[in-house]
């Protein structure tokens, strides 16, 4: 069974992020890059499916500039078999739809039985690519999955999606697209052997023309990024606990009108 895992390279949460000279993008000078955490759940789940079945192939795919190879390399170190790097200036400023179109073209070439993605990338937090990819492929989709099980003959996947108040379980005929939520699994750390082995695995550069995709303007574009407006300065309420608590309740009621 072939599984495609779409991942994104994003700034580490703890990294300081500043608006760049071009105010539509961030200053990437001192950014530490990581694989988006939800995508690691997707990679882990793909590897577990393969291991459980005792056969198959896990292909990692990512869209972005040269630095993205490093993120793909970590996926290979975790255990993915090979990687595709969608690396073309055509995709600069790609919105979710352009990204989904590129991934759909890859899926049409690779013909996986299952596509796994993270529930959202933690840079632009759109959470849209998985659903858009499913739409473009005409495949069923389940968001925020907490459990999945591919049946023995590889025809359907049973997935539990997180919704308000519980989980909804569905059988999706394969091929299908799933978005991983935290709680699905605990991603493994690459072993030394995995890291060494990853150096020999293939990361293939894919150009838009390889996918039959031409340049097209994004449907959604960023006009500009800006820092958050500062919050008004806060107040540390002094005094012993009963006094401070009374003052807090009074402030919440009378000043903030929050209760």
């Amino acid at each position: 069974m072939k599984i495609l895992v779409a991942i994104k390279q994003v700034p580490d949460t703890a990294t300081q992020v500043k608006v760049g000279a071009d105010p539509r993008v961030i200053d990437t000078a001192s950014i530490t890059w990581i694989v988006s955490p939800y995508d690691e759940f997707a990679v882990e789940e793909a590897l577990r499916i393969k291991e459980k079945r005792g056969q198959g192939e896990v292909v990692a795919v990512s869209l972005g500039p040269d630095r993205v190879k490093e993120a793909l390399r970590s996926c290979l170190a975790m255990g993915c078999d090979r990687a595709l790097h969608l690396n073309d200036a055509v995709w600069n400023g790609a919105d979710t739809l352009a990204t989904a179109r590129a991934l759909a073209a890859v899926a049409k070439q690779e013909q996986p039985q299952l596509v796994l993605c993270g529930r959202q990338a933690i840079d632009d937090d759109m959470g849209a690519v998985t659903a858009q990819l499913a739409e473009l492929l005409g495949w069923p989709c389940a968001y925020w999955i907490m459990e999945e099980a591919v049946d023995a003959d590889g025809k359907t996947v049973r997935a539990a999606r997180q919704v308000e108040g519980g989980l909804e379980v569905f059988d999706l005929p394969l091929p299908a697209v799933l978005a991983a939520q935290k709680g699905l699994n605990e991603p493994r750390y690459p072993t030394l052997k995995g890291i060494m082995g990853a150096k020999k695995k293939e990361i293939r550069d894919v150009k838009a023309s390889d996918l039959g995709i031409g340049a097209e303007p994004p449907q959604l574009s960023v006009i500009g990024l800006e820092a958050l407006p500062p919050r008004p300065p806060g107040r540390i309420i002094q005094g012993d606990v009963p006094t401070a608590v009374k003052e807090l309740v009074r402030s919440l009621r009378e000043d903030a009108k929050a209760i």
Partner: protein
């Protein structure tokens, strides 16, 4: 009507629109200056629900009522919505960030071949273009985005937009177009209910109480739930508490959990790691209680008390009770 602002209805699965729809319809009315239409896909609408949409300001409700729409499946819903959109040519399609719509709305945008702005915290007309503001990079920056063409498709973060001023007695015209359902390939197996805490849902609650590592153990969350019952608050947790196994993941607030934007956030023993702030920094009023005066959460708190939460929480619950019993 062509050029209307559409609001995709999120309901309680019992025939009533959720409160967040008052915010979506309210914002649509401010932007559109009229021509606001609700589009409701459901297996069961109620008259009370339709009346509610009218009072919030929907001039028309497109009611797509069909047993095949439950349970929700994006493959079915996106097709139904796209068909109606093709006939009616709305100017904008607005939804709310909920478990269904976070999947449905992007899928619809892809079907229509237009841009999507998810989880918006502000919308404004700039001439004849819509501009959306949305948090990015763990809420450290705001991005202003716009669309190449219409319909403009967006989802709105709950609790951020000002609710509609309800107009009692105002009614919406109800249109019931024929629904032809695309074939569903996903088969429903079961729904597993969570053990209910009896408290509001995290993402929708107007008041959220959060317990961090300072809670010291899972057994202590009961004091936060007691407070939650007094003030009608949801109770969440930081990643540290969830990763320690004290609370199930569905209660996690932050970058790898739920994003919340309540009117009032009360954090107890929460340090305020960036990853937590990403999920709650758009809260209107932030209260922090922590023994450590250097905890980063105090930098964004409106009110702080530097003290042991185990002394503060019971006292605060008592004071809230006294206030609300007045």
């Amino acid at each position: 009507m062509a050029n209307a602002f559409w609001c995709i209805v999120e309901d309680d699965r019992q025939g009533a629109p959720k409160k967040v729809m008052s915010e979506v319809i309210g914002e649509a009315s401010r932007l559109a200056g009229g021509q606001v239409e609700a589009v409701w896909l459901t297996d069961k609408a109620t008259d009370a629900g339709l009346k509610q949409l009218g009072e919030w300001g929907a001039g028309k409700v497109w009611l797509l009522e069909n047993a095949g729409l439950a349970p929700y499946r994006s493959e079915v819903w996106a097709g139904v919505l796209a068909d109606l959109a093709a006939k009616q040519s709305p100017r904008a399609i607005l939804g709310a960030v909920t478990s269904r719509q976070r999947e449905l709305v992007p899928r619809l945008a892809a079907k229509l071949g237009v841009g999507l702005a998810a989880d918006c915290v502000a919308l404004a007309m700039d001439g004849d273009k819509l501009v959306a503001t949305r948090p990015v990079y763990a809420g450290k920056l705001l991005a202003k985005v716009t669309w190449a063409k219409g319909p403009w498709v967006a989802t709105l973060r709950p609790n951020v937009f000002r609710p509609a001023d309800a107009q009692p007695g105002k009614t919406a015209a109800v249109e019931r177009p024929a629904v032809s359902l695309p074939a569903a390939v996903m088969k429903f197996v079961e729904r597993r209910e969570e053990v209910s805490t009896g408290l509001p849902e995290l993402a929708e609650a107007e008041i959220v109480i959060s317990g961090g590592r300072g809670m010291k153990g899972p057994e202590n969350y009961v004091i936060l739930e007691d407070m939650g019952r007094v003030i009608g608050a949801a109770v969440g947790a930081s990643r540290a508490a969830v990763d320690a196994g004290w609370r199930p993941h569905r209660f996690q607030i932050g970058q790898t959990g739920r994003t919340i934007s309540p009117k009032l956030y009360l954090g107890f023993g929460v340090s305020g790691a960036i990853q937590h702030l990403a999920g709650m920094r758009t809260s209107k009023i932030i209260v922090a209680v922590n023994k450590d005066a250097e905890a980063p959460i105090f930098k964004i708190a409106d009110y702080g008390i530097v003290a042991d939460l185990f002394e503060v929480v019971p006292e605060l619950t008592k004071e809230f009770k006294r206030l609300l019993e007045k």
